[in-house]
Symmetry: C2
Subunit: 403 residues, 2 copies
């Protein structure tokens, strides 16, 4: 068993932004890429065929949720998460850590790992770096993440340093466990995907020296890719961009870089300008279910009475099924009437906006026009006074969402 | 303005069952046909493209719901219900009467019409035959229904007779109003669909002589088609079949016959054997959302623990997207996890089962093999002892659902 199947090749660069191809056991992903969040094995309100029609190339599933229900053992007996959910393209699983720290009813962290109670039934569970590795091996995702500790923002420098150092020790244990898993040395562990890759996670809050220390230590462990964790948790966006900038300078150029939990369309383009390759965020899908829609001209809250008799599509520039088929008036009606189809149509639109934006960014990088694209894109998102769909960063929600 | 566009042609008969083509202002419908219920302008949990992919040829929308929200005036300003919801094929609207009698918070009936309070906000409304006609003219459905009184089951013969006679008087008023609407004699009424047809409704409970009286009186008013109302409301199925049988003998052979609110797969095939052309029922869509799935071998309750590790599709004989893509184990997981996608996948399957069954029935009638098809179909729905998906008529719910 080996991870030789996993590969990442940078194909184009434009400044510090880059295009690449990530090859996994379940196919290729063109980067920069946005990974829709399929927490419980499905993107909420979408079928897989809807998701494929949007051009999604990779799906994120949450280990915490699948571990609790239906259980990694059951999924392993089904032949792994791809078989179980019927999604044939690449899947990335997180480690479960973020959900434990943000979602579990109660949790207690120690040097070995973290104990917590399920948000579903209060049952007691324990997650340690080795177990997080094993669970993901049973799930058989294409990319597994190491268990890390996630701090709230703001946090004191001392606690960030302590936490970062522990995350680094956990990363070493997770990496060693992965080597044992690959060598078939873990008894009774059925590996669902022998080509599974493993990514390390850089922590260190907003302290640049701690980020550098974390990055250097994590890279030394030799992962298949590197994530930047602990951002998009409430810090000012400029602080986030600066931290991404400083962190990436310590990451190897030939491996994928994944900014976890980000973010707004602006966050994506700014992080790509700094060299990020992968993103995940619930913002497009969760906002869709709440009636908050992204357009090329800014944001629309479809609940607003101003749309009651508006026969225009959400975004006249958009080619998605929702915009080609339905008016704002109808979408507002469905939302007010509590129809599930509102969530589906809104999610189709928001995910199309994200995935199509990434596609256009890739084309801009490949065509050497990224910087110009970035300026126009950001300017369009901030409409002039008096034009219609208004938008404020704050109301978009810039904090990372849990699931 | 005229209804000359509306046409119905019987193309094949087999015994008393028949195939036909119903032509409306928005296209053709092959009969016998099942009309999925899109209460508030969408079939719950499905996009229109999902619905079209299932081969749905006609959609039913509920006048009561659309009148209350977003309002027939607003829909009229959008150019009618087709424009508003983005569905280009035929639409039938009910009169609103059934929902008023079963759903409204309080209602009071008198000779003129019925007063009721909205289930949404308690506001007071009044529906009379003329208004039900006008509302549907504003909506612009392809087939409008007359306002009728719907009695609960069981009901005394005297009250059924009184009610049936009043429904007949209402039908005359509705028909006269429709003639005025078509002649442009109703001030300030914007007609959204000049090709709208109007169906009468036969009442009379389970009393055959009252049914005959109602049918003869309704047919004398010269509608474009005839519905059988007031069945599938809790009476024994044999009583329903007998009543359908007796009623249809009084209806013209060259016009469409619509059994309102029915029913189970068995109900459909039995009614078709007696000459019914059109059906609507929430059973496939509502049961889907509750995890009750129809298969060629009987019924499956996907919540059942026996399906937790069942890698088979819901129905190995089924060609729907759900059965081609997903296992019972995954569908159970999605249902337990409360994912909207469970409702979507289950609804896709159940509606496929209904629409595909109707398609196969049409082929059997055209091929002169309907009676053989009927026997095999009914036998398969009742599995032998010891085989897996059990099914009882009772647990399927044979009473008409409200929305």
């Amino acid at each position: 068993m080996s991870d030789a199947v996993f590969d990442f090749t940078v194909t184009h660069t434009a400044g510090r932004s880059r295009c690449g191809v990530m090859t996994t056991a379940h196919g290729r992903v063109e980067t920069p890429a946005f990974m829709p969040v399929g927490t419980q094995g499905t993107v909420k309100a979408l079928t897989h065929r809807d998701l494929e029609s949007l051009g999604a190339q990779v799906l994120l599933c949450n280990t915490y949720h699948l571990y609790l229900r239906p259980g990694d053992d059951l999924i392993s007996r089904r032949g792994g998460v791809h078989n179980f959910i019927g999604w044939t393209k690449p899947i990335l699983t997180d480690s479960g850590g973020y959900q434990v720290f943000s979602l579990a009813a109660r949790r207690h962290i120690d040097e070995e790992g973290v104990s917590f109670r399920s948000h579903l039934d209060g049952s007691l569970h324990r997650l340690v770096p080795e177990k997080a590795t094993d669970i993901q091996a049973r799930l058989g995702s294409d990319i597994a993440m190491v268990l890390d500790e996630c701090l709230a923002y703001p946090a004191e420098r001392d606690s960030v340093r302590t936490s970062m150092a522990r995350t680094l020790r956990w990363a070493r244990r997770a990496r060693e466990r992965m080597q044992q898993v690959r060598a078939g040395l873990v008894p009774d562990l059925v590996v669902a995907n022998v080509g599974q890759a493993q990514f390390g996670i850089v922590q260190g809050g907003v302290f640049h020296d701690l980020r550098e220390e974390s990055a250097i230590g994590t890279v030394a462990l030799g992962f298949d890719g590197y994530a930047i964790g602990g951002l998009s948790v409430g810090e000012p966006v400029e602080v986030m961009y600066d931290t991404v900038d400083r962190t990436i300078r310590c990451l190897p150029a030939h491996q994928p870089r994944y900014l976890m939990g980000a973010g707004t369309p602006e966050d994506l383009i700014e992080a790509i300008a700094r060299g990020v390759d992968l993103f995940d965020c619930v913002l497009p899908t969760r906002n869709a279910r709440n009636g908050q829609l992204f357009t090329s001209q800014g944001r629309i809250n479809i609940k607003n009475a101003r749309y009651a008799e508006d026969d225009r599509p959400l975004d006249p520039a958009c080619e998605c099924y929702t915009c080609r088929s339905h008016s704002r008036a109808y979408l507002r009606h469905l939302f007010r009437a509590g129809e599930m189809n509102a969530a589906t149509l809104n999610t189709l639109h928001n995910l199309h906006f994200y995935l199509d934006t990434l596609r256009r960014i890739r084309e801009a990088i490949m065509g050497g026009r990224f910087e110009g694209f970035r300026q126009i894109f950001l300017r369009q998102l901030t409409p002039q006074r008096g034009t219609e769909p208004e938008r404020t960063r704050k109301s978009l929600g810039i904090t990372r969402q849990h699931f």
